[in-house]
C-alpha cells in the first residue's frame, strides 16, 4: 500500500515521471477518441460523431447557463478539452494501478494535487486574463469593490479560495477513490475469504468512482465557467 512516487531531476526541475506518463496517456486517449470520432463526418451524424456532438452541445449548455454565448463562445474549446481531459484522467485510475518495486506508475493523473492545482491555477489565471482583456483594467479592478467597497479583502481572499478549492476538490475526490480501491484490492489479494469479501464492495466502489469521476469533471468545468463569467461580465 505504501507506494512512493518516482522522482527525477532535470535542469533544476523536479519531475514525477509517473505523472508525465499518465498525462501523456490521458492526452493520447482523449486525442484518439476525439480524432477517431470526427473522421468521416457527415451532415447526418452517426455513431461516434453523434456522441462527440452531444459532448459539444453539453459543454455549450454549461457555458450558456453562465454567460451569453457571444461572450462565452470563445471558452468552448477550453471547456471541451477540460471536461474530456479530466473525465478520462479520472477514469484511468479505476480499472487498476500499476506499481513496480513499490513505485506507483499507473494511476489517475488527477489523483495528484500538483496536476489538479496546476489546472485550477491555469483556469483562474485565464479568468483574470480575460477579465482584463474583455472589460478593461478599470472595470476589472472595480469588480473587486462590488457589491460593496468594504468587501474588497473578502473578494481578494475569494480568488485564492476559489483556486484552492477548485484544484483540491478534484484531487481529494479522485485520490480518496483510488485509496479505497487500493485498500479493497489489498483485501482481495489477502486470501480466499478476503477475495470473496472484497468482490461486492470493490464493484460497488468502482461504480461509484465512475460516477464521482464524471461528476467531478462536470463540476470542474462548471465552476471554471462560473468564475470566468464573474470576471468577463460587467453587469453582475
Amino acid at each position: 500500500m505504501n507506494h512512493v512516487n518516482p522522482k527525477w531531476e532535470f535542469l533544476g526541475l523536479t519531475f514525477n515521471p509517473s505523472n508525465i506518463l499518465m498525462l501523456a496517456v490521458t492526452c493520447l486517449i482523449v486525442f484518439l477518441i476525439a480524432f477517431i470520432s470526427t473522421r468521416n463526418m457527415k451532415m447526418k451524424p452517426t455513431g461516434m460523431q453523434n456522441f462527440m456532438e452531444w459532448v459539444m452541445d453539453f459543454v455549450k449548455g454549461i457555458i450558456k447557463s453562465n454567460m451569453d454565448w457571444k461572450t462565452g463562445g470563445r471558452f468552448h474549446l477550453l471547456a471541451l478539452t477540460l471536461i474530456m481531459f479530466i473525465f478520462v484522467a479520472n477514469m484511468l485510475g479505476l480499472p487498476f494501478a500499476i506499481a513496480y518495486d513499490h513505485v506507483l506508475w499507473w494511476k489517475s493523473p488527477t489523483a495528484d494535487p500538483t496536476i489538479t492545482m496546476t489546472l485550477a491555477v491555469m483556469v483562474l489565471v485565464l479568468t483574470h486574463y480575460y477579465g482584463v482583456k474583455m472589460t478593461g483594467v478599470k472595470n476589472y479592478l472595480l469588480g473587486f469593490t462590488k457589491p460593496l467597497a468594504f468587501m474588497t479583502p473578502l473578494k481578494i481572499i475569494e480568488e485564492f479560495a476559489n483556486t484552492l478549492t477548485l484544484g483540491l476538490r478534484l484531487y481529494g475526490n479522485i485520490y480518496a477513490g483510488e485509496i479505497l480501491i487500493g485498500l479493497l484490492a489489498g483485501l482481495a489479494t489477502a486470501g480466499v475469504g478476503g477475495f470473496l469479501g472484497a468482490i461486492l464492495p470493490a464493484m460497488a466502489w468502482q461504480g461509484f468512482s465512475i460516477f464521482i469521476g464524471t461528476i467531478q469533471a462536470f463540476i470542474f468545468v462548471m465552476l471554471s465557467m462560473v468564475y470566468m463569467s464573474h470576471k468577463v461580465q460587467t453587469d453582475h
Partner: protein
Amino acid sequence: MSLDQFVLAASAGDGILDKLNTGDILATLFFFTLLMILLKKFAWGPLMGIMDQRAELIASEINEAEKSRAESAKLLEEQRALLKEARTEAQAIVENAKQQGDAQRAEIMETARAEASRLKENAAAEIANEKEKAIQAVREEFVSMSILAAEKVLGKEVSEEDNRALIEETIQKAGESR
C-alpha cells in the same frame, strides 16, 4: 507528491523548488495546451465546422419550407377563389337557363292560348255562317213551297174553305220545317 508534502513545502519556505514538482506543473501545462491545440486542429475545428454547416442547412431548409408553405397556401387560396368563381358562374348559368325556360314556356303557352282562341273564333264564325246558310236554305225552301202552294191554289178550283185550309197547312208545314 501528496497533499501533506504540498502543504509542508508551502510552509517550509526554503527549498520549495526542490520539493515542489515544478517539472510536473510545466508538463501539465504543456500537455494540456498541446492537447487543446491538437484537438482544435484535428477534432473540434472540423466538428464545429460541420455543426455550423448543419445549422446553416437546417436554417435554410426551414426558410425553404416556410416559403413553399406560403406558396402552397397562396395557390390553395387561388384555387379556392377559382372554384368559388366557377360555382357562381354555374349557378348563374342554371339561373339563366331556368329564366329562359320560364320565358319560353310562357311564350309557348301564350301562343297556344292565342291559337286556341283563334280556332274557337273560327269555329264560332263557321257555325254562324252555317246557321246563316241554313236559314237561307229554309227561307228558300219556304218560298218555293209557297210558290208551289200558290200554283196548287191557282191550278185548282177550290173553295174558300179549301184555300184556307191549304194555306194553313202550308204555313204549319213551314213552321215545322223551320
